[in-house]
Symmetry: C2
């Protein structure tokens, strides 16, 4: 348990514009202390289920329940094991039944207190209990604060693949307490940072330059952290508002993810490589491949590599411990992840820092040769 | 297996108006034979998973797969056990994983071939695989043709209650082949008929009078059957279009269902009383209770009783075999089903045949006394 002090400054407010399902993202240090009031203001007279994993629940669940209580919101706690393996049907059923056993109604709220695993699982449960309950995200990992808690994608994994089962279910509110990132393991903080950098690389070269100059403050927990989270949320909110159900432009968010997913699969989704680390290497590869295709300058690839390596992220295939599949093996994993449509691949490529674009006609042979040379 | 002859007459088309999710209900004898063409016309180049139960699958699945094939639609078959017990998490996972194992994509289609159990389960699976696949209903019970296949409510049961977990997921098309009702067990046909009569009782006295004169044709499979199914679908489509997510007027569809659900619960959801039989008794009780509250004439209650009993449906509590709970026991079951808000019950009551309305302030004591006198 931690001691709660109310936030010293006003939270930053980022709006997600989705007509009648619009909602706020509040960002600030110490915000858990005002979570009760913020929820009660928007959702009067609700009751709540707090879903968390053992790590995060142990640190923050009792505090949250207390501030909810103080705001007149009774709650029950539902705990799951930490880790990606938790996102499965058995835990979905467990959370759903716990919410039903607490006799929560459609207007009541499921609160996800945790990283992306808890957010995806609890959000999916909220989507299907009584065909849709209210849902509030209280993301506690950097990745969850800048990525998974915004946009309404929820879901679980099955042996057939990751995130293949789920629902679009927008939260009513996202509260990103940047102070809780102080207890996040450093490796997870770095992994989340890869997604922060991604927003700069997609279409905001100014933000990438700002990160190059200010990343230390993001890591140490200065006011730069709030700025980085808010800028990331604004970027994601813009894309989500333009393409809620991922039929077009939202694909840009996958910069670095095609290579990244293949590497995660190649390492068995193990601690050898966590998601954000795969994304970091994937973004470097996307820039290098773009340079090789004469779409971008090699200087941009070098700049991206320097920054990501500078914060302590892996940037080379050789940074991954143990052996990797060969180029053909990696291509097979890429083909499994992406639909190969009429013999070409869709990739997010770039014309340089902040100039990513969707390339629909990438020849697989070029990717294969590039990987062979990179291994 | 049956031999397929194409329909002799044009199907009746009923539209469900839901802006960009509008769809057609096609109604006619022999329509399975044209299911491939109708689906291919609306969803070009899809692949399909046919979900069915053992009873219905044994009769119609091979035929359907053949006509799909003829229209260029490859399919896999997924079979579940017949019966309400099938609507659970384990079967949801089974169907979802079978669809994923067949490598169907978001644009591909899940086809529910069966009664309401298969429709609710397969529709829910379609709603959550890849966060929403296409979905086609091929309802094979009368209840499914006139009620469960229209409106987009999908879901499963848990030990906490029936239909508490699910999604709103509209089909792309509903094909009601009235010929397949010839193989439906007569008791199930009668049960579905209770829901047909319900549409007359809600707001269409002319239809109820037509049913009194023409019910034999509905049961024997004359053209009256198509008319009855189409009129019912039109009525449901109207309500659904006005209130897709069941926040208001859609509650009228619950005429007879508050009493009915309590009786189903009282008989343990067993073969002692199937759903439509509970609804039949419930509708009679709703009319009698309305008369007792001086809202309607007792003649209307008598008329409803006479018609439902005439087609062979139970209409009295005494028609249920075995013992029932006493009035207090039934009231407890009613309170479990409905939210008792500030001490009063919301019920669907009536001013007479075709004049149902939502009554929000029914005193529980009046219901209890009425039940005590009815037992
Ligand atoms: N829905 C989306 O749009 C979306 C987007 C990206 C990723 N995701 C999903 O997010 C998941 C990854 O999220 P993640 O990286 O947050 O993983 P995670 O939820 O597993 O959290 C990482 C680890 O950090 C711990 N932790 C979290 N917050 C902590 C804190 N404040 N203090 C101490 N420990 C803390 C967790 O217990 C866990 O052990 C994946 O399942 C991925 O599929 C979803
Ligand atoms: N989604 C909705 O809006 C909605 C509305 C009403 C009811 N429901 C649900 O519908 C379910 C009840 O549906 P149901 O009454 O169709 O039950 P069902 O699906 O169990 O079918 C009844 C029986 O008839 C058999 N059968 C079906 N069609 C047949 C045919 N043509 N020939 C031979 N046998 C056939 C089935 O195998 C089953 O044994 C319940 O689970 C209920 O909750 C849903
Ligand atoms: Zn990512
Ligand atoms: Zn019914």
């Amino acid at each position: 348990m931690t001691t709660l002090s109310p936030p010293l400054v006003e939270p930053i407010r980022v709006g997600v514009a989705l007509s009648d399902r619009s909602y706020d993202i509040l960002i600030g240090r110490g915000l858990i202390a005002s979570a009760g009031a913020e929820i009660a203001r928007r959702l009067p007279r609700v009751r709540a289920a707090i879903v968390s994993d053992r790590n995060v629940g142990g640190l923050y669940s009792a505090d949250l329940s207390r501030v909810l209580n103080a705001a007149g919101i009774g709650s029950v706690a539902v705990e799951v094991e930490p880790g990606e393996g938790t996102k499965n049907f058995a835990n979905l059923e467990h959370v759903v039944r716990a919410v039903l056993a607490a006799r929560l109604e459609r207007g009541d709220v499921v609160i996800a207190l945790g990283g992306g695993v808890v957010g995806d699982l609890a959000g999916f449960a909220a989507a299907i209990v009584r065909r849709g309950m209210r849902f509030v995200q209280l993301p506690t990992s950097l990745l969850a604060q800048v990525d998974s808690s915004v946009g309404g994608k929820t879901g679980i994994n099955t042996p057939e693949g990751k995130n293949l089962v789920g629902a679009f279910h927008q939260p009513s509110l996202v509260i990103a307490d940047t102070g809780v990132l102080d207890t996040l393991p450093p490796r997870e903080l770095r992994a989340g940072y890869a997604e922060v950098a991604k927003y700069g690389l997609i279409d905001d070269p100014g933000f990438f330059a700002w990160l190059e100059a200010n990343w230390r403050g993001v890591f140490s927990g200065g006011p730069e952290r709030e700025h980085a989270v808010a800028t990331s949320c604004r970027a994601k909110a813009r894309v989500v508002a333009a393409d809620e159900h991922e039929t077009g432009e939202r694909a840009l968010l996958n910069l670095g993810h095609t290579f990244g997913h293949a590497l995660e699969a190649a390492t068995g989704y193990s601690q050898r490589l966590v998601h954000g680390e795969g994304v970091a290497i994937g973004m470097v590869l996307a820039h290098r491949f773009s340079a090789r295709m004469n779409l971008a300058s090699p200087d941009d690839a070098a700049r991206v590599t320097a920054h990501l390596a500078g914060v302590g992220l892996p940037t080379e295939l050789a940074d991954i411990e143990g052996t990797l599949p060969d180029a053909d093996g990696l291509m097979a994993l890429i083909a499994q992840d992406k639909k190969v449509s009429r013999g070409t691949l869709t990739f997010i490529l770039t014309h340089g820092v902040g100039k990513a674009f969707i390339a629909k006609d990438v020849p697989p042979a070029a990717v294969r040769d590039f990987l062979a040379d990179s291994l």
